[in-house]
Each structure stands twice: as structure tokens, then as C-alpha cells.
């Protein structure tokens, strides 16, 4: 296992720049999740670490050694592809042992490594099958098995679960987490699914437009998003945003409501800001003391209830565990607890 350092990494295709100077320090044994919408450069970054894409500028170091110009085969990393990329003309056992055979490792050692990995993943009865004869979940396991037999310096995952159905995805997610707990292998995992990012990561790297937006533990990103993008991307249903104006320790919403802030940000009075609050943090008071809102839609999820509100014409969501919400009338009132407020300035950066 090894640490990975990425310094001022840039990637451009001709004149089109897709990564604008990424810096990232990945500790030995850490599980890093690169998350962001499609086209944010997360897969490109992963493929550059793997050696499948050239580095335009900057540096990648694995275990302290610069690997910029190293062929993928010499980087000693394993990768799980979204399509699994199993070799169709080889059996499961041959698929798993291919990398070891290329390294001309003794047959007995290969057999031992394959059977160890197979039993860890429950693939023993399938070893002689071809990928064609496997289900999606089984193929996914074989792809994982192919990665772990090698004991590489690092594991790279490129959206490995996105071809599975929801239930299987949940199950595999837990297995990947368990496997990482056992192997303590440096892992970089690319996904666009923020739930996967939250549940798996030691640290999340949120990316947007080829730029790293925030690096931090899942709860850091959830509690203190660095900017509007991260605030909106992490969490489901997504954070509510309301345009407001700053005024001496409080913000004034477009409808004139004044909301006091817990901390005083470094802002000039009159500056326009965006107020953010997560749907699960909004409190329904229903005693007329809060802000009036119209209920537009009620979505029971079983676990809780999502209320789609209109707050003076602005769409607004509330998530509550209180089943009484099903019987609310068309008018309710809500309150924003000040400890849950997020404030972003006009350049979309967090100020409080």
C-alpha cells in the first residue's frame, strides 16, 4: 500500500481544459471518494492516476515516486471499471489470475491467491464459468476479485456500482466498505452518487468544472460546505437556497423577513447573500409564529415525509419524520433554527 500525491495536476485536450490544477494528498490506507456531476473531471483524474490518460501539467507521485511517464502496467495499481471489463474469453479464475500470470508468478502461488480472493468474495463455485454466464452482481465481484488478488499499491474504482440495481448496489457498497476495513488499502473511488460518497469515504473530494471544490470528511462536507456547489450537491433532498441581503448580524429575505445569525460574518451591510438550510433542519412550527408557506406537494417516503412548499413564490423543501405532516393544511408556518443556517456571499463562497 502506498500514499499518493497529486500536485497542480492539469489536463487539457487541445484547447479544452478539463482539469485546472488539482492538488490532493492521499494518505496510505485512506479511502478517498471523488464525487461530482458528470463532466466534472473526476473520471479523468482517476484515469490519469491509473496512467490511462497523459498528464498535461503537474505531477502524480505514488509511494513517493513520480509516475507521470510510467506505463499503467508499471504503476502497480488495480482498477475496477464501471463496465467491469472482464475478459470474455477467460473463465473467472483466469480473469482473476491474469495479472499474476503476466508477472510470471509461480502457479501454486497464483492458485492460492485466486482461491483466497474467491472465498473472500463468495466466488468459489463460479471459478470455471465465463463472464457471459454470470449475473451483474457476480461480474462486479469478479472485477473486485481481479483487483484484490494482486495486492497492489492502490485500488481505483470508476463508478463500479452504477450498473447494478438499487438493492445490489447497497449490498456491494457495504461489502466494499468491509473489504477496505480488512485490507486497509489506499483506495480512490469515483462516483456521482453522493450517498455512496458519504457512506464510503474517509475523505470526500467534491469536484465541479475541473476544480476541486472541497476536501473533507463526509460530515465536514455536510455540516460546513465550502461553497454553494458543495452545499447543493451533498445531501438529499438538496439544500434550500434563498436570496437575501445582509444587514448587521442578520439577513433579510426577499419578503422582508429578518433572520438573526449566530455568528457575525465579515460582510458589508446591504451585500447580497444566499441563505441555505437543509430540508431536514427546517422546523415546522404551525403556530403562526414562523414564516407562512403554502404546501404544494406531499411526498411520503416511508422513512419520512418530504413537503414541497412555496415560500412567497419560491420553491422550498422540508423533510420531517413527523407523520402528522401528512395531515397539514395548505398553509403552514416554518422556522429556521439559526445553528443550521449556511450563508454564502455573492461569489458563492461560505461566509457563515
Amino acid at each position: 500500500m502506498a500514499s499518493i500525491q497529486i500536485e497542480k495536476l492539469e489536463k487539457s485536450y487541445g484547447h479544452v481544459s478539463v482539469l485546472h490544477g488539482v492538488d490532493l494528498n492521499i494518505e496510505d490506507g485512506e479511502f478517498i471518494v471523488l464525487v461530482g456531476p458528470s463532466g466534472c473531471g473526476k473520471s479523468t483524474l482517476l484515469r490519469m492516476i491509473a496512467g490511462l490518460e497523459d498528464v498535461s501539467r503537474g505531477e502524480i507521485r505514488i509511494a513517493g515516486n513520480r509516475v507521470n511517464d510510467l506505463h499503467p502496467k508499471d504503476r502497480d495499481i488495480a482498477m475496477v471499471f464501471q463496465s467491469y471489463a472482464l475478459y470474455p474469453h477467460m473463465t473467472v479464475a483466469q480473469n482473476m489470475s491474469y495479472s499474476l500470470r503476466l508477472r510470471k508468478i509461480a502457479k501454486e502461488k497464483i492458485a492460492a491467491a485466486v482461491s483466497a480472493a474467491a472465498s473472500k468474495l463468495g466466488l468459489d463455485p463460479l471459478l470455471e464459468r465465463r463472464p457471459k454466464a454470470l449475473s451483474g452482481g457476480q461480474r462486479q465481484r469478479v472485477a473486485m476479485g481481479r483487483a484484490i488478488v494482486r495486492q497492489p499499491k492502490a485500488f481505483l474504482f470508476d463508478e463500479p456500482l452504477s450498473n447494478l440495481d438499487a438493492r445490489l448496489r447497497e449490498q456491494m457498497r457495504a461489502e466494499i466498505k468491509k473489504m477496505h476495513g480488512d485490507l486497509k488499502a489506499t483506495s480512490i473511488y469515483v462516483t456521482h452518487d453522493q450517498i455512496e460518497a458519504m457512506t464510503l469515504a474517509d475523505r470526500i473530494v467534491a469536484m465541479h468544472g475541473g476544480v476541486v471544490q472541497q476536501v473533507g470528511s463526509p460530515l465536514e462536507l455536510y455540516d460546513r460546505p465550502a461553497n454553494l456547489f458543495v452545499a447543493g450537491f451533498i445531501g438529499s433532498p438538496g439544500m434550500n437556497f434563498l436570496a437575501a441581503t445582509y444587514s448587521a448580524g442578520s439577513v433579510i429575505l426577499a419578503n422582508g423577513t429578518r433572520i438573526a445569525l449566530e455568528t457575525v460574518p465579515a460582510l458589508a451591510p446591504g451585500e447580497s447573500v444566499t441563505l441555505g438550510i437543509r430540508p431536514e433542519h427546517v422546523v415546522v412550527v404551525n403556530d403562526g409564529s414562523g414564516m407562512q408557506a403554502t404546501v404544494e406537494l406531499v411526498e411520503p417516503t416511508g422513512f419520512g415525509i418530504i413537503l414541497h412548499l412555496s415560500l412567497h413564490g419560491l420553491p422550498f423543501k422540508v423533510f420531517t419524520l413527523d407523520r402528522g405532516a401528512l395531515n397539514y393544511g395548505s398553509q403552514i408556518s416554518v422556522r429556521f433554527p439559526s445553528q443550521y443556517l449556511h450563508l454564502f456571499d455573492s461569489s458563492e463562497e461560505r461566509v457563515a
Binding site: 491509473a50 490511462l52 495499481i77 482498477m79 471499471f81 471489463a85 470474455p88 491474469y98
Partner: protein, 276 residues
């Protein structure tokens, strides 16, 4: 649910008619080849002669230059098929996987070569090959056939390579393979159907090519069998029996070849239709 049987019958009947129409010339080839000369014109139009004979076959094998033609054709068609398939595999792979300068110029040029009627090119090609001593030689034929078959075969192979996900090679490289080993151990085995299809296509094309063989070859020593068949046409008569017997025998290698590769061929022509 009970469905009307009539459309099914009509459908099968149509297929049957088509097959009969397509295979009838072959049947006629066989029929004439076993008809004794004295019955050929005397019996009128019959589906099968009242008496059959293998004399034509015996004559062709023993007293004509047909065995030489046959050998020449095997050499030319096999060499062409192998050389073209090897070249087309490499160039098709390059077109499918690499981006390089002038890629589209090369594709355009290759398409351009397919646009001319070959007759136009016979004279210049003769002019080129003649000083090199490559007329009247099997090597010359192989070179010409290869040149004309490589572009199409390249496009054919390219489409097969396009059908193989790029992920597989990338996975192989990450597993520790060089680009070439990934090509040989992962991509090539998966392209076998494509290779078989290309081999078969080029083999038949070279096997039955007449125009260049006729123009570039004179004399029996280097003649291929399509040229050889014409020797049965003399100034005053056509020896149909022997010609047909030679034709039947010339079909055998092509048929055998397709029998060998047909398993891959069917796979090959439908490859890419379903996701592996």
C-alpha cells in the same frame, strides 16, 4: 392463440423458391459435369442425364493443366488472404484505437481506391509490374490482390475492433500488459470471428478473380483456375463437360474453407449486435 398457417406456408415457399433459384446454376454445373459428351446435346433439356460418367473429371485431372491451375489458385488465394488479414488487423486496430495526424486523410484515400472500376487500372498496373518482372508471376498477383483488398478488409476489421470495448485493453494494461500483449492476448482472441470473416471474404475474392489474372498472366505455368477455365473454350467449340468438372472441383476448396470458418463467420457477422 391460433394463427393462420397460410402466411407461414407462403413465407417458407418464398424461401424455398429463392434457394432453388440461387442453387440451380450449381446443380446445372454438376449435371453437365457428369453428362457424357454424346448425350449433352442429344437428350434435350433434362434435369438429369439417362447415363452419368466421371470421364470429364478423369480427363481434367490427368490430361489438362488443371492441377497446376488449382495449385496456383490455392497459393495465390491463401497467401492473399493471410497477408491481407494480417495487414488489415493491424491497420484496422490503428484506425479503431489510435488518433494520429492524417488519420482521416488515410481513410479518405483508402475509400478512394474503392471507387475506380478495376479495368481502368489494368494498364498502369501492368506498366508498373512489368519492369519489376512481376507479370506472369504468382507473386505479382498476390501483390495486386493484396493492394486491392486491404482497404476494404481494413474497414471490416476496424468495425470488429470498434465492437470491442476499450475498457478491456485498459484493464489488461492495468493488469500489467503492454499495449502489444493486450492486443495479442485480449483483443485478438475476441476478434477471431472478424478475422475469420475477413479471411473468408478475401480468400473467395482472390480465388475467383479473373480480370487481373487474365491480364497479368500468360501461359499455363502461372495461370490460376479462373483463367484455366477459359482454356476449355477453344476457337471452334466449348468443352462444357470438362469445364464444368473443373468448376466443380474448383468449388471444393472454397466450400471447405467456408465450412471451416462458418462457425466464426456467423458469429462475426452478428458481432456487436448484442452487448457481451
Amino acid at each position: 392463440m391460433k394463427r393462420s398457417i397460410l402466411p407461414t406456408i407462403a413465407h417458407r415457399l418464398a424461401i424455398l423458391c429463392y434457394v432453388a433459384f440461387a442453387l440451380f446454376p450449381l446443380f446445372w454445373l454438376l449435371k453437365v459435369s457428369v453428362t457424357p459428351n454424346d448425350l449433352l446435346y442429344s437428350e434435350g433439356v433434362r434435369l438429369w442425364p439417362s447415363r452419368t460418367t466421371w470421364d470429364h473429371y478423369a480427363f481434367v485431372l490427368q490430361h489438362s493443366a488443371f492441377p497446376t491451375f488449382f495449385k496456383n489458385s490455392v497459393i495465390v488465394a491463401t497467401s492473399t488472404a493471410v497477408v491481407v488479414t494480417v495487414c488489415a488487423s493491424l491497420s484496422g486496430y490503428a484506425l479503431s484505437r489510435f488518433s494520429f495526424r492524417a488519420k482521416y486523410v488515410i481513410i479518405a484515400l483508402m475509400l478512394l481506391t474503392q471507387m475506380f472500376p478495376l479495368v481502368m487500372l489494368v494498364a498502369p498496373i501492368f506498366k508498373i509490374l512489368s519492369p519489376l518482372g512481376l507479370t506472369n508471376s504468382l507473386t505479382g498477383l498476390v501483390i495486386v490482390y493484396t493492394a486491392f483488398n486491404v482497404p476494404f478488409a481494413t474497414f471490416l476489421m476496424q468495425s470488429f475492433f470498434d465492437g470491442i470495448p476499450k475498457d478491456l485493453e485498459e484493464a489488461a494494461m492495468i493488469d500489467g500488459a503492454t499495449k502489444f500483449i493486450a492486443f495479442r492476448q485480449i483483443i485478438l482472441p475476441l476478434t477471431l470471428p472478424g478475422i475469420a470473416a475477413t479471411l473468408g471474404f478475401v480468400f473467395t475474392a482472390a480465388w475467383s478473380e479473373l480480370l487481373f489474372a487474365l491480364m497479368l498472366i500468360n501461359g499455363n505455368a502461372a495461370a490460376t483456375f479462373p483463367v484455366g477455365l477459359l482454356t476449355f473454350v477453344s476457337k471452334f467449340s466449348v468443352d462444357f463437360g470438362q469445364m464444368m468438372a473443373a468448376g466443380i472441383m474448383a468449388l471444393i476448396p472454397a466450400a471447405l474453407f467456408f465450412l471451416l470458418i462458418q462457425r466464426y463467420l456467423v458469429q462475426g457477422l452478428t458481432a456487436g449486435a448484442v452487448k457481451g
